[in-house]
Amino acid sequence: MRPLHLLALGALGVASLGCNAVVSGGALSNSPPQGRALYLSTGGSPKKYRTIGFVQVRGYGVQLAGVADVGYANLDATIKGALAEEAVKLGGHGVINIEFLDENPSTDAERAEAAMRTVNNFVNGKAKIEQKDRYVTVTGEVIEFKE
């Protein structure tokens, strides 16, 4: 198959795909909290608390050929990883009012396009994998329970 045909086929495939990107992460804490694990919530605190500080984390990663994500640009690695670790370092019992944003998620169409470009590069004899920088930003309020 000629590269031009491959590109045309890819464009047709891209056009038929949706333009939405869905990003999700694992469960946070239940309310009311059970046990003594670090309390993580996008809302407020279930108990009386004292604010210790605020934390912002920006996870960086790279998407290769539209299919493989490398690095820390995902919600679990930033919220349950770096953000939680920083809260524990500050002596917090939890992080509340967590806000998160995957700054540049790829739609199915963009992933397919990157994959097709990579294939086209190899067909043309160029060993080049399409890359895309990825960023996830998370902020939260670190608290200490009074009770």
Binding site: G18, C19, N20, A21, V22, V23, S24, G25, G26, A27, L28, S29, N30, S31, P32, S41, T42, G43, G44, L75, I79, E99, F100, L101, D102, P105, T107
Partner: protein
């Protein structure tokens, strides 16, 4: 009789000037008549009974079980300033929420945040003339998926067959 060669260069310049003046006048008129505020809205499901879909920007006060965090992003071009062919407005993003919430075995999305690209009416009118450059547009919704705990059954909710019969009743 010899013909004298003439050039139509001055008339073409004059015509181009007239077209530019008309376009400029149209843009100025559009700018004066259109507001600088762009509005976008969407209706959210507001069921308060556990099991029915609830989407809210506030936190829940009732007990719940967290089912994870969710971000939905829709992006695409706006053609001719107004043709949003793939749906990058709030209503389109909200329409995606229901299936995603259900697929995670949740019944509510709480602490919802919204980010959307907004263009002023004037910018959209300018884009009609710059039709070869589509406007990039994007809408993002983030929030926490939860499953609300079912309320404790009230006396009236208990089926009659399971209600203990009074002693010595007829």
């Amino acid at each position: 009789m010899a013909s004298v060669p003439t050039s139509n260069y001055p008339s073409r310049v004059a015509r181009a000037c007239r077209v530019a003046l008309v376009c400029g006048g149209l843009l100025a008129a559009a700018g004066c008549t259109s507001g600088c505020t762009s509005v976008n809205s969407a209706m959210l499901p507001q069921a308060r009974t556990p099991g029915e879909l609830l989407v809210t920007a506030e936190a829940l006060t009732e007990p719940y079980e967290s089912r994870g965090v969710l971000q939905i992003t829709r992006k695409g071009p706006i053609l001719f300033g107004f043709a949003d062919i793939v749906g990058t407005d709030l209503a389109a993003a909200v329409a995606e929420l229901g299936p995603e919430i259900r697929s995670r075995d949740a019944d509510a999305l709480v602490n919802m945040r919204v980010e959307q690209t907004q263009y002023s009416p004037f910018r959209r009118i300018v884009a009609i003339f710059h039709f070869f450059i589509p406007l990039p547009s994007e809408v993002t919704i983030t929030g926490e998926l939860v499953r609300r705990s079912p309320p404790a059954p009230r006396a009236t909710d208990v089926p009659a067959a399971l209600t203990p019969k009074p002693e010595g009743g007829t």
